[in-house]
């Protein structure tokens, strides 16, 4: 019995492949194997002998079976090791390229602006880019022949012969959206209105198209001090650092009083850092809405008052992300798009942070 055991366990241990192992299995515990033959002999034994040999033979069978299973796993592992050793690839080869798209800085910054103003309760409003002169000028208290209208470098739409209506214009600012929103929604109201605007001007720092975001808040008791707070909160959130503003008296036909707003900054080697230093950088025009403008929007200036502001989105992008040339925004140079563009999945949120 012990001989039998030693014989097979040794054979299993030294088996070199699965075929040999199968032969061993058949010889040992197969239906006609040695162990089976021994089992058959049990019938001829006396009950006492059977009592003794039965369990022994069963134990032997179990032992051989486990040895076979263990050896089988060991052989499989060894074979796998050989295969794996052969399956070598050069992992330093380049990966299969995936296209990398980008989001334009203007879109990115616009979404940052939406996220911040959403928190302050401003909805996003829009309006047409070809405007009638009433919405772009008259309703905003810019009279037809007033020099202020001339200073807008307006693009006019062509008029067919015999069409004596005043020329439509490409909106020179996002302010006509103030009028449209007031007429549509009445007061109280808080909106921002982003979008393309157009001025007939092209040089180092001007492009004939750029992007503005308008802000407007009307309520019973909104004051210029609230405007200052909103802007400081906005800039602080936008630039990610405490930003002080300075209000300077100015004039816009649609606001009264009017102020140009500077943000605190530092100039160094021709580049500017916002939120530090002793210099000031002009970033927007603003003021309390002129009574005539409220009236044009169908809102009673005796009951309601509000502020409005307008700032350049492109300029905010330049300041925040250190982009030097405005004209390059519209050139679609692939190198520029890749360098200044933003990740496809980056969506600014207040919860996750708004800095790209």
């Amino acid at each position: 019995m012990d001989d039998l055991k030693n014989k097979y366990l040794t054979a299993i241990l030294t088996a070199g492949d699965e075929a040999t192992l199968e032969d061993i299995r058949l010889q040992a515990v197969g239906k006609k194997g040695e162990v089976a033959l021994k089992m058959r002999e049990l019938g001829k034994m006396t009950p006492e002998e059977r009592q003794e040999m039965g369990p022994k033979l069963n134990a032997l069978k179990d032992e051989i079976n486990s040895a076979l299973a263990a050896k089988k796993v060991a052989l499989e592992d060894a074979a796998l090791d050989v295969r794996l050793a052969e399956e070598w690839l050069d992992v330093t080869l380049p990966s299969r390229a995936r296209p990398q798209g980008t989001i334009h800085p203007i879109s990115r910054v616009s979404e940052e602006i939406y996220a911040i103003f959403a928190d302050l309760g401003f909805a996003v409003a829009e309006g047409p880019q070809i405007e009638d002169d009433w919405h772009n000028f008259d309703a905003l208290n810019i009279a037809p022949h007033h020099p202020a209208r001339q200073e807008h470098d307006t693009f006019y739409m062509h008029r067919a012969e015999g069409d004596d209506r005043p020329n439509h214009v490409l909106r020179t600012h996002t302010s006509p959206v103030q009028i449209r929103s007031m007429i549509d929604q009445g007061a109280p109201i808080r909106i921002i209105a982003p979008g393309r605007v157009y001025r007939s001007d092209y040089d180092q720092t001007h492009t004939p198209m750029f992007h503005q975001v308008e802000g407007m808040a009307i309520d019973k008791d909104i004051s210029m001090a609230n405007l200052k707070w909103v802007l400081e909160e906005f800039y602080t959130a936008f630039f990610g650092t405490k930003v002080k503003t300075r209000f300077r008296a100015s004039h816009f036909p649609f606001t009264e009083p009017s102020a140009e707003v500077d943000v605190q900054c530092r100039w160094e080697n021709g580049s500017v850092t916002v939120g530090e230093g002793d210099d000031w950088l002009e970033v927007l025009g603003s003021g309390m809405m002129h009574p005539n403008v409220l009236q044009a929007g169908g809102i009673d200036p005796k009951q309601w008052q509000g502020f409005a502001f307008g700032m350049g989105i492109d300029r905010l992008a330049m300041l925040k992300y250190g982009i030097p040339d405005l004209r390059a925004f519209f050139d679609s140079d692939l190198r520029w798009l890749r360098h200044y563009g933003f990740s496809a999945l980056g969506v600014p949120t207040l919860a996750g942070g708004i800095h790209g």
């Binding site: 390229a97 995936r98 296209p99 798209g101 980008t102 334009h104 879109s107 979404e111 103003f117 959403a118 928190d119 302050l120 401003f122 829009e126 047409p128 070809i130 919405h135 022949h145 007033h146 020099p147 202020a148 001339q150 200073e151 693009f155 739409m157 062509h158 067919a160 020329n167 490409l170 393309r196 157009y198 007939s200 092209y202 004939p208 198209m209 909104i222 004051s223 210029m224 001090a225 609230n226 200052k228 707070w229 909103v230 300075r246 300077r248 008296a249 009083p257 009017s258 102020a259 309390m288 008052q305 519209f330 050139d331 679609s332 692939l334 890749r338 563009g341 990740s343 496809a344 969506v347």
Partner: protein, 797 residues
């Protein structure tokens, strides 16, 4: 608007420093655009005394000077003829910059002799043309800054020139006196009153003046005076210096006086040679077509209705804009006529724009001058002419009436607090208005005649806040919306954002291109009509509103190809314009694929982009905005697409959600794009918005019965659309057939040139019971029959 500091001080008694004045100007809304302070360039140039000057050993024209400076004796080699012992000169030490020569001085050897600096001439310091020798000064102490010396002896040479931007509402600040008034109100000094002149008349005015009925609303008042026996010539130096400093060329006394009044008091005047004028003056509107050779030596043709001054039936000058050359003053002028008039600002603006004249007079007359000063201005100007040119003045002739612009508004002192949010004591508010020339009558503020911009109570608030300074404004928190902030984007704005991120995630680089394109390109894309044409484009490349976003992307692609980039994925999201009326714009997102999927690579993955790439991207973008997954694919796309290799994704024939495909080779050629390009355009507003606000999904249902897939191949005509075949198969049993997929297409070969084989997999998902062979046979037969009927094809054996 330019002026000098000393000119300002003629109107403002002040000890304020230049910096304080500049700060206050900007803060008051008179934004400083630039300051030229001649002192800056003179810093460090100090007075020295030449103690000894001897002949240079090796050069005839040079002298070696021992010069006493604030730092002791030094040696200077000098070539100036007047370099001699005893004179006081101005020294540039080594390291100093000489503005007139654009060089920096260093210690050097001149013909073997060391020289420690340079004694400067006036020209070398940009202080004049004098270059006959070095500066030689009377008096002055060694070591004194030359700028200080000039300030005492010749202040105009170191007079800072200040340039400020004037907003259109502030014509009063187009005169130095008005600027001084603002500064005085701010507390930077005291406004000096203007000297009020009265001129005795010695004879009757020989020139009559008439304003015609038609011109009465264009010229409110016209006053004039005849001065005879004047002697014209160069102006006195102080006047020349002032005009030169602000960039005006001194011409003659008579001309310079008008310029002086223009800039000193925002009071344009006109002085003309009376001898050249026959008969009376008639102020009338032009009939149109009259010509005038004006003072700028250009000939102008009057537009109809322009306000003109006629003499002898001819236009003598363009009212309030520019005088005529023929009647201009010269050195021979003996008799002159001085006029001061108040014009309707709108008439000036219209005529000025029509004539494209930009004169100081037009600039001021269209913004508004002080009408109440009109007649006094005539006396003040006459007095100045008499003082400088001699002569005698006639009686005043006047037509029309000085317009009454008096008005008053209530000063609500609480309004400053409520509107601005600044606490300013009522007495202070009143004091501010009074210092600006308002006259208080109870709580009513009478507006001064020089402030046409003040037209309501809000303007009073603005004046008070402006003068008090908005820098005192403290931020005040605004009420925030209660509870959790609500969404602020409209569904369409959400779509815009979604497609941007989707397109970028698909590998496209976002572009922002101009909304206007050239006419030729616009026409290629169905636009370029007069309705969307700009009247005044900045260039012919930007003349028409874009009808389609692909134009800008193709232009961008051509530029990038020229830079050596062959494989491009570009997209843009924004408005396209289908008409010229407000609102005739729609929102597109367009993607353009040029070249291959990428550079050659080790995996052989490089693939030329084809229409199925564009289609996949169009479908992905549509999915991102929630478009229905099942849409029709139709042909007959826009003509800028390849007619055989493009399609549109539609909900019915009229509802086009998107187009995709290869771009037409001719269009690519016209746009200068090399190779082939595929593109998609999704019309964002066309996909219907979801109905209702239900956000919960339908119940999730799975079927445990085994699904079965069966493959079929059909031989059909080449022109049969795969989608028709798929739809035919799928239509056999809408419950049982879960999906039909095309998995192979084979064209031509043994099938014949006009035939193709399309292979499909049909996935059957039983609902009630497992499918038996008999069931499968039945449905297979139905599928074959239906497909054959719908496509005219046959099952491939």
């Amino acid at each position: 608007m330019k002026f000098t500091l000393s000119w300002l001080k003629e109107h403002l008694e002040t000890d304020a420093s230049l910096d304080d004045i500049l700060y206050a100007l900007t803060d008051l809304g008179l934004e400083v655009e630039g300051v030229e302070n001649p002192r800056d360039a003179l810093k460090g140039f100090k007075l020295v005394k030449v103690q000894e000057a001897v002949q240079h050993p090796d050069a005839d024209k040079l002298r070696v000077c021992k010069v006493e400076t604030d730092e002791g004796m030094t040696q200077i080699v000098c070539g100036a003829p007047n370099a001699r012992a005893g004179i006081t000169a101005v020294l540039a030490k080594p390291g100093m910059y000489i503005p007139g020569l654009d060089i920096t001085i260093s210690v050097g050897k001149i013909r073997g002799v060391e020289s420690h600096g340079m004694m400067a001439s006036m020209r070398e310091l940009n202080l004049g043309e004098d270059h006959d020798g070095i500066i030689e000064l009377e008096g002055g102490e060694i070591g004194m800054e030359f700028a200080d010396y000039l300030a005492q002896t010749d202040p105009s040479k170191v007079d800072p020139v200040i340039e400020i931007a004037i907003t259109p509402n502030r014509p009063d600040a187009l005169g130095v006196h008005g600027i001084a008034r603002d500064l005085a109100a701010r507390g930077l000094g005291t406004l000096k009153p203007l000297k009020v002149e009265t001129v005795e008349a010695t004879f009757a005015n020989p020139i009559s003046v008439e304003i015609t009925e038609a011109a009465k609303d264009g010229c409110y008042v016209f006053g004039g005076r005849y001065i005879r026996g004047v002697k014209n010539g160069p102006s006195p130096m102080w006047l020349q210096d002032r005009l030169t400093a602000i960039g005006l060329r001194p011409i003659s006394i008579l001309v310079d006086v008008t310029n002086f009044f223009t800039y000193d008091r925002n009071r344009p005047l006109h002085v003309f040679d009376a001898a050249t004028v026959k008969g009376g003056l008639v102020i009338d509107r032009a009939k149109g077509g009259e010509e005038l050779l004006a003072l700028d030596e250009k000939t102008y043709t009057m537009p109809e209705g322009a306000m003109c001054i006629f003499a002898g039936g001819k236009v003598e000058s363009i009212g309030g804009i520019m005088g005529g050359e023929e009647t201009g003053c010269s050195d021979e002028t003996v008799d002159v006529f001085v006029e001061a008039a108040v014009w309707n600002t709108l008439d000036i603006a219209k005529a000025g724009r029509a004539l494209k004249v930009n004169s100081d007079a037009r600039y001021r007359n269209e913004r508004g001058i002080d009408p109440a000063y009109n007649m006094q201005a005539l006396d003040d100007a006459t007095a100045m002419i008499l003082a400088l040119c001699g002569g005698e003045a006639s009686e005043v002739v006047m037509a029309g009436r000085v317009p009454d612009v008096s008005r008053a508004y209530r000063l609500d002192t609480d309004r400053v607090q409520s509107l601005v949010g600044m606490d300013i004591a009522p007495a202070r508010q009143v004091a501010i208005l009074e210092s600006l020339g308002f006259v208080m009558d109870g709580d009513m503020a009478k507006v001064p005649s020089w402030r046409p911009d003040v037209l309501g109570e809000a303007d009073l608030v603005e004046e008070v806040a402006r003068v008090e300074s908005l820098t005192h404004l403290a931020p005040k928190a605004m009420a925030r919306p209660a509870g959790v902030a609500k969404p602020i984007l409209t569904p369409m704005q959400v779509r815009e954002s979604s497609v941007r991120h989707q397109a970028a995630a698909l590998g496209y680089n976002e572009c922002v291109t101009y909304s206007f394109v050239d006419e030729k390109s616009a026409k290629l894309f169905g636009g370029g009509t007069d309705a969307v044409k700009l009247e005044n484009p900045i260039s012919s490349e930007m003349s028409h509103m874009r009808p389609d976003l692909l134009i800008g992307l193709l232009q961008a692609a051509a530029r990038n190809q020229a830079r050596g980039f062959a494989d491009l994925s570009l997209f843009e999201c924004g408005p396209a314009f289908h008409g010229g009326e407000p609102g005739e714009q729609h929102l597109q997102v367009a993607g353009l694929l040029v070249g291959a999927s990428g550079p050659k690579d080790v995996h052989g993955a490089r693939r030329v982009m084809d229409l199925y790439d564009a289609k996949a991207d169009a479908e992905a973008v549509l999915a991102a905005i929630g478009a229905p997954a099942k849409a029709q694919i139709l042909r007959d796309t826009s003509p800028w697409f390849h007619p055989g290799r493009s399609g549109k994704i539609c909900l019915g024939p009229k509802k086009v959600l998107a187009q995709f495909g290869e771009l037409h080779p001719k269009v690519l050629k016209e746009m200068g794009v090399k190779g082939t390009a595929v593109a998609f355009t999704v019309y964002l507003e066309e996909t219907p918005l979801p109905r209702g606000t239900k956000v919960a999904r339908s119940a999730f249902f799975t079927n445990d019965l085994q699904a079965v897939e069966r493959d079929f191949a059909f031989v059909v005509d080449k022109s049969v659309n795969a989608l028709d075949l798929v739809n035919a198969a799928a239509g056999v049993d809408k419950v049982l057939i879960e999906e039909v997929r095309v998995f192979d297409e084979f064209i031509g070969g043994s099938l014949g040139e006009d035939k193709k084989s399309l292979a499909i997999t049909v996935r059957l998902q039983p609902v009630d019971a497992t499918l038996k062979d008999k069931d499968l046979e039945e449905i297979s037969a139905k599928i074959v029959a239906k497909v054959e009927k719908a496509t005219g094809g046959t099952l491939r054996g």
